[in-house]
Symmetry: C2
Subunit: 208 residues, 2 copies
């Protein structure tokens, strides 16, 4: 955040997110990216706590939070990933879709998830959502020199956000106040999502 | 623009735009803001040329462009503002609305306009839109020490943008391709914009 000139923030396109951030992460390059997108297993944490773990350069952002999520060992061994937290679970919504570059090349796969509070399959939908992105890279196959698209699993990059009532991102009010409420309630409630939801519902579109 | 870490850009909230940028402008403070939002009479310019006049720190942005627009003399004298360019005209859409701060205080008035190509009233709607903001300030009235809201007219701040098909700002593709198409259509509608277009198309997603 630039104190001297407000309004500058991390607002990447999907292409920037995949082609720069995720690719560099997968190649083990650019350690300094941690200040923007840290490595964090978001599934070990209640969603409402996630803003506290955002990258240093993005702390204070109130709309969306980005994380590199390493693949879990059990998923690597062919099992299902564990997306259950103390208070609820993440569940995919819709089908995964491709992400395209500005030159219309397939660069990744995107999965959208919603956080439900309670136990599956009877949890209640919350306002917390996430897009999980994995990179697709062309891999050269010898000897034919043929390339095949390959999905990279070692890291995904996740964008966590709270559903707002408005589709127009620009009209949003700074969520400062609303978020503070959410985070405050959360601290003393820790575990019971009831209060988070209530506060979220109350403040949800104060930002209109 | 931060070359080393893509994805950081000027993406202000309405509150930041009015309470920081427009207020400082009205008070004659912070000359360095010109690098973000320059003073420019946008009504003297075809909309598709406007991206070239964006603030230095925002050059290369492909989604929205911000300008401080001084009040025209004829408007100051009580006349109607002139919003006609060589190729068309700006026309208000919907009613002006209030803009609220995160603490629910009225901080401004917002008017949305669409650019039509051709002559009023038979012009054709284009994809160019704009939000014009004016600040509302509380003014102290003596001797009662009463405050009244006062609309400031000396400068407005305008956000010019191109309507995209998607409502979800994050999913947007870098507009490179779309912009080229839009601008191409405009070219043979008006002839003169060729070179700016070329430069815009070339630079549009240099920030990748």
């Amino acid at each position: 955040m630039e104190d001297s000139q407000p309004g500058f923030r991390f607002y990447p396109t999907e292409e920037e997110l995949i082609c720069f951030y995720l690719h560099n992460k997968l190649e083990g390059k650019r350690e300094d990216m941690n200040r923007v997108i840290p490595v964090f297993n978001i599934y070990r944490c209640e969603p409402c706590n996630l803003p506290n773990f955002a990258g240093q350069r993005c702390l204070g952002d109130t709309e969306q939070w980005f994380f590199f999520v390493p693949r879990e060992e059990r998923e690597a061994r062919g099992g299902r990933p564990n997306r259950t937290t103390g208070s609820g679970y993440w569940k995919a919504t819709g089908s995964p879709s491709y992400v395209y570059s500005s030159s219309n090349r397939v660069i990744g796969v995107k999965k959208t998830m919603v956080f439900y509070s309670g136990k599956a399959p009877t949890g209640r939908k919350t306002k917390w959502k996430m897009n999980e992105y994995r990179a697709i890279e062309d891999e050269v196959i010898n000897p034919s020199n043929h390339t095949v698209p390959k999905l990279r699993h070692e890291f995904s990059v996740c964008r966590v956000y709270v559903i707002s009532g408005s589709f127009r991102a620009f009209d949003r009010r700074p969520l400062g106040t609303a978020m503070k409420e959410i985070l405050a309630q959360q601290t003393y409630a820790n575990g019971a999502t009831m209060t988070e939801e209530a506060s979220l519902a109350g403040s949800s579109y104060s930002e209109k």
